[in-house]
Amino acid sequence: MINFEFIETSLTENIGVIELNRPRQLNSLNRKMISEIVVAMEDFDRNDHVRVIVLTGKGRAFSAGADIDEMTEDDPIRLELLNQFADWDRLALIKKPIIGAVKGFVFGGGFELALCCDVLISASGTEFSFPEVGLGVMPGAGGTQRLTKLVGRAKALEWLWTGERIPAQLALEQGVINKIVAPELLMEEAMKFAERLAKQPPLSVRLIKDSVNKAVDSSLHEGMQYERKNFYLLFATEDQKEGMKAFKEKRKPDYRGR
């Protein structure tokens, strides 16, 4: 396993876990940390033993946002040449399911990182916010785009303009997160969900993610054609044969991911 400076990774059974590891800075995200997250994700994505990826933060917060110190002196040309958001674009290409286990503060870049997950499990008491407006800027790693696609224009504008803190319950009602659990059980519940997903046929899970992502970003007609191709494609898998055979034989299927 690769040695990281700002994150920690581990692999249990078939679940790859990535933990943000700057608890004293409330896991504020610097550029190196983002690139480490991407490297770890891509590594898990290619690892045959990994079926599900869990992303979480050490300490009391998931992430309080981007490291402000790092960007106070930035200018547009430097930012263009740095092209830091290219790393974020790679996160969107991860094929395996990513489960975010979030708690405490999920602010700014931390919120954008959470929105890169496929499923969000949140501890009760967690607060979400895009406070960038208060610093005279705005989200730059997908915040305005992903949030709007999730909650619609009205709520997105309200939250992005005011920078207000969104309590977990409201985030749940607005469809930002999937589930609220007791803070003490956050990892246990996230791992339980991950284990459940890991038992599903991996290629189905993979192509479902691929198709759902297509729905977010294309016309219905185009999405329907895309879905169809993925549906047909699954009939080339061993797991499809196994799944349907097990159904007929009234036994539990044993999926191999092939």
Partner: protein, 257 residues
């Protein structure tokens, strides 16, 4: 550091004394803030296993200091800025909070007592929803808690007629837990607090969580929260201690962990 309250921690109990006796402990913004800070300190202090709120002098708390109220005041904003954060801090706290109501609890002072988990009342105590007498409505969570304690009909009566409720009536209608004679007041408040402080603190916190969920969640969500709560309680040292003590036929000694 505190000016309007006194905050002391002794024997695992945090004591918060409202300390403006010459004003019958009436609220000013600073007192809202200091109560909030004191509750926060007690919440994060691992030594603390019970919190007691009480008043210095002859009143528990007479509510908003009316000498601070003027025509230009935005009453809604006062609640959002000062009372709301204090009441929310109390609601978030997972340790048992006792209101030791030593005298009159009027207006927001009544609300403060309602936001606590237990109300002990001295013979001198009384409750008064005074808001109506100045043309205002009960605030600081008052009706939310009051309705749960005494039901809609009685809550309506107390809010609209604004009549004083004596200590014994308060106990009779389920508003207060226990009436204590003036002579035995301090001693019995202390022994009640000590008793709470010796119980399995984590389990008490989880009970508070479940009770809150009753008014906030659907039944299915409540059952899930209950299951998670029991999972957490089942992993505490106090659960193990309770089981061991039962097997060994002795009195359990809980650490609160």
């Amino acid at each position: 550091m505190y000016e309007t309250i006194r905050y002391e921690v002794r024997d695992n109990i945090a004591w918060v004394y409202l300390n403006r006796p010459d004003k019958l402990n009436a609220f000013i913004a600073q007192m809202n803030h200091e109560i909030k800070e004191a509750i926060k300190s007690a919440t994060f202090d691992n030594q603390v296993r019970c919190i007691v709120l009480t008043g210095e002098g002859r009143a528990f708390c007479s509510g908003q200091d009316l000498s601070e109220v003027n025509e230009d005041m935005d009453h809604g904003q006062v609640l959002r800025d000062h009372y709301g954060p204090m009441i929310k801090q109390i609601r978030q706290c997972e340790k048992p909070i006792v209101a030791a109501v030593n005298g009159v609890a009027a207006g927001a002072g009544f609300s403060l007592a309602l936001a606590c988990d237990f109300r002990l009342v001295s013979e001198r105590a009384s409750f008064l929803n005074a808001f109506i007498h100045v043309g205002l409505i009960p605030d600081s969570g008052n009706l939310h808690y009051l309705t749960q304690l005494v039901g809609q009909a009685k809550a309506m009566e107390l809010a609209v007629l604004g009549e004083k409720v004596s200590a014994s009536d308060a106990v009779a209608m389920g508003l207060a837990n226990k009436l204590i004679s003036t002579d035995a007041w301090e001693e019995e408040v202390l022994s009640f607090a000590k008793r709470l402080a010796a119980l399995p603190t984590k389990a008490i916190g989880l009970i508070k969580r479940s009770l809150k969920a009753v008014s906030e969640q659907s039944f299915d969500a409540y059952l899930e929260l209950e299951a998670q709560g029991q999972r957490i309680a089942g992993q505490t040292e106090d659960h193990r201690e309770g089981l061991n003590a039962f097997m060994e036929k002795r009195t359990p000694v809980y650490s609160g962990k």
